[in-house]
């Protein structure tokens, strides 16, 4: 290797090829994916997130929730994703088109949250999620800094957490979720991928990719 400019060109080509091959071509394939318009109920899917949920997505990102939670239900044949009730179908690219910052995640210390609000038979509600954030569960730490302890003045707040046992605040005090906690919960409750896109099911009769 004596020719400097040829060497340089080679380096550039090595990077450029991989970039074109992976990034540019996948962008060409799914980069302009649009919402799916369903004639029967005259609605376009996926739904755009509400303002509060979009704020909550920022809280989710800034606390690094994605370091323990994924948001992708894998194809059939990959693990127990569907058996665990995380979703009745695999996640598809269209699910994510309106998310500003996609949080696919890379680790499952905790549960997958793709379809948290659409789980069957029972999805957690706002109360469940606030309690879980405050108390923690299993490998999940408690996020008490998302809550404030207030002295009860006059009537108790309707937002106060109903806690029992050790966690119960001193009498005369109540625990109120901060705005950030409420945004985060609104975001979690917006995670719903129940709508069935035509591309969300593998071709009938075909084996799952992980199966032998």
């Amino acid at each position: 290797m004596k020719n400097g400019s040829l060497f340089f060109l080679g380096l550039f080509a090595a990077l450029g090829l991989a970039w074109v091959g992976i990034v540019v071509s996948s962008n060409a394939q799914i980069g302009s994916l649009a919402g799916y318009y369903d004639d029967t109920d005259s609605t376009s899917y996926p739904a755009r997130p509400s303002g509060l949920a979009a704020q909550g997505a920022l809280v989710y990102k800034d606390l690094g929730c994605a370091s323990c939670h994924t948001q992708q239900v894998r194809r059939p044949g990959f693990g127990s994703d569907q058996d665990r009730g995380w979703g009745e179908r695999q996640s598809v690219a269209r699910d994510y088109i309106y998310q500003t910052s996609v949080q696919l995640g890379e680790s499952r210390i905790g549960q997958d949250l793709t379809n948290l609000a659409g789980r069957k038979p029972s999805a957690p509600d706002q109360d469940d999620l606030l309690h879980m954030l405050y108390q923690g569960q299993g490998a999940m730490p408690s996020y008490q800094f998302l809550f404030e302890t207030h002295k009860i003045q006059g009537e108790a707040s309707s937002e106060a957490l109903k806690l029992t046992g050790k966690q119960k605040p001193q009498s005369g005090f109540e625990i109120i979720p901060t705005t950030r906690a409420k945004e985060l919960v609104a975001y979690l409750l917006s995670l719903n991928t129940t709508y069935d896109y035509p591309e969300a099911h593998p071709v009938a009769g075909a084996k799952g990719e992980g199966e032998k």
Binding site: I30, G31, G64, A66, D95, S101, E106, G138, P141
Partner: protein
């Protein structure tokens, strides 16, 4: 140019023009790298403890698991690897050019701002400016600064390369130039496609995966191999065997490496061909690892302590490549994906592979840069033993924890609290391993500090005399 001697006095007497101008900027780069290594070790220990004891520091938002994990990664990659890799690459390029290090002042200014950028990035991460993309945990506002300061550092390397006396290039030079040239491209593409005008939906994950893999195969691994290809023949006193194949190994890494990122997205909501291509390419990349092993295998015969570091680095580097190829297969990936097994792989490659090669080269370089031997041989030996034990313990326990986790996750009847209980013993051992690794880094830091300070005091007067003559 043979520097096979291992005696400390001969090491410090081995001076070339490269040291005359490059001494202080390069010492600054190497010194900062050691500092960041210790900082990242502390963060890594905290996250490791939080994995089995989630309540640890949980009341403090700045130290919540997601953020500390990001800080550990950024300080390790951009702080430790960035500084040490660039410092050694510049030194090696200057030495191989047979000339002085040109643009040394630019290196100094660049290094100053690079470290400033890493510091600001850590502050930003602590306050929540995460990107949630692995290896790319850089708040958007520090990226332009990182980019520009990198230019200051890298320009000296390019000048050494273009001004080299011999037209012929050595393997170290290929790897060094590739790393110096490709990082700014990677970073700027990621910056444009993820921050300035983000691509849509899951493509962000595709770009993120491409960047992370590129950072490893096109920047970190070449920097480590620059160091290894330079020091191994000099420390062992033998020419590189099968050197003809080295070029093939080099181009395999560069051409194939960039395609392998999407193997982490197997089964996910991206077009299946992306991960299929990645799997094929990951297996192809095994060729590169074989070539590197054949070329550098005489490091395994031992001889000096610094060669011991490179030998362990070589074993981990090659093992990491084979494990990557194995776990990219769908049947294995279905189990190891999303588990701490992937943390074990990362540690094996980044710490076991790249960092151990850097340590070996650092122990080789400092006496020559400073003109004085390392202050303590016992501390070097201590670091070698502790880091080897630390890597072994942490990688094996994390891998075991990952397999337990993966198998439990695959069984829908096992709930998450039970998985945490099953993993806990292994994670406790991993924390002990992280502690050992941190201790080994501290030994290096102490030794570095002692060497630089004592020889500054001792040599100031003698150096003036030497310069006058």
């Amino acid at each position: 140019m043979t520097h096979a001697s291992t005696s400390p006095s001969a090491d410090s007497a081995d001076q070339t023009p490269a040291e005359s101008t490059g001494r202080y900027p390069l010492l600054y780069l190497l010194g900062s790298s050691v500092l960041w290594l210790v900082v990242s070790g502390v963060f890594a220990l905290i996250t490791s403890i939080q994995l089995h004891t989630p309540s640890f520091l949980a009341e403090c938002p700045v130290l919540s698991y997601g953020r500390v994990r990001a800080m550990a990664e950024t300080s390790f990659i951009y702080g430790w690897i960035g500084n040490v890799g660039l410092g050694l690459a510049l030194w090696i390029l200057a030495r191989l050019s047979g000339e002085k290090l040109r643009g040394a002042n630019w290196v100094f200014v660049g290094a100053l701002f690079w470290n400033l950028a890493v510091t600001v990035a850590l502050g930003g991460l602590a306050l929540g400016d995460l990107t949630s993309i692995s290896m790319y945990q850089l708040p958007s506002y520090v990226q332009p600064l990182l980019f520009c300061s990198y230019g200051g550092i890298a320009v000296a390397g390019l000048l050494s390369w273009t001004g080299r006396r011999r037209e012929m290039m050595f393997a170290s030079q290929w790897y060094a130039i590739a790393a110096l040239f490709l990082f700014p491209w990677l970073l700027s593409i990621a910056y444009v496609m993820l921050e300035c005008s983000p691509v849509r939906g899951v493509l962000q994950a595709v770009v993120g995966g491409w960047y992370a893999q590129g950072l490893w195969t096109l920047w970190i691994a070449p920097l480590a191999l620059t160091a290894a290809y330079y020091v191994v023949p000099r420390m062992s006193g033998k020419v590189i065997p099968a050197y003809d194949s080295a070029a093939l190994g080099f181009w395999t890494l560069l051409v194939v490496g960039g395609w392998t990122g999407a193997r982490h997205l197997i089964g996910g909501p991206i077009p299946a061909w992306i991960s299929s291509v990645a799997i094929v390419m990951t297996v192809t990349l095994v060729f590169h690892y074989i070539v590197v092993f054949l070329n550098l295998r005489m490091a395994l015969k031992g001889g000096s302590l610094s060669l011991g570091f490179v030998a362990i680095g070589l074993i981990c580097y090659v093992a990491g490549g084979f494990v990557d190829a194995l776990t990219s297969m769908r049947a294995y990936a279905a189990i190891t994906q999303f588990t701490v097994y992937e943390d074990a792989q990362k540690l094996l490659a980044l710490y076991g592979g790249a960092s151990m090669m850097f340590f070996g080269a650092l122990y080789f370089a400092l006496p020559r840069l400073k003109g004085a031997a390392w202050s303590s041989g016992a501390l070097i030996k201590g670091q070698l033993i502790l880091s080897a034990v630390g890597i072994l313990v942490t990688v094996l326990s994390l891998a075991a924890a990952g397999l337990v986790q993966g198998n439990a996750l695959a069984d829908a009847k096992v709930n998450f609290s039970d998985i945490a209980v099953q993993m806990r013993p292994y994670l406790l051992v991993a924390s002990a391993g992280q502690f050992i690794i941190l201790t080994s880094s501290l030994l290096l830091a102490v030794n570095f500090l002692k060497t630089v300070i004592t020889c500054c005091c001792k040599s100031d007067s003698s150096k003036e005399g030497a310069l006058a003559s």
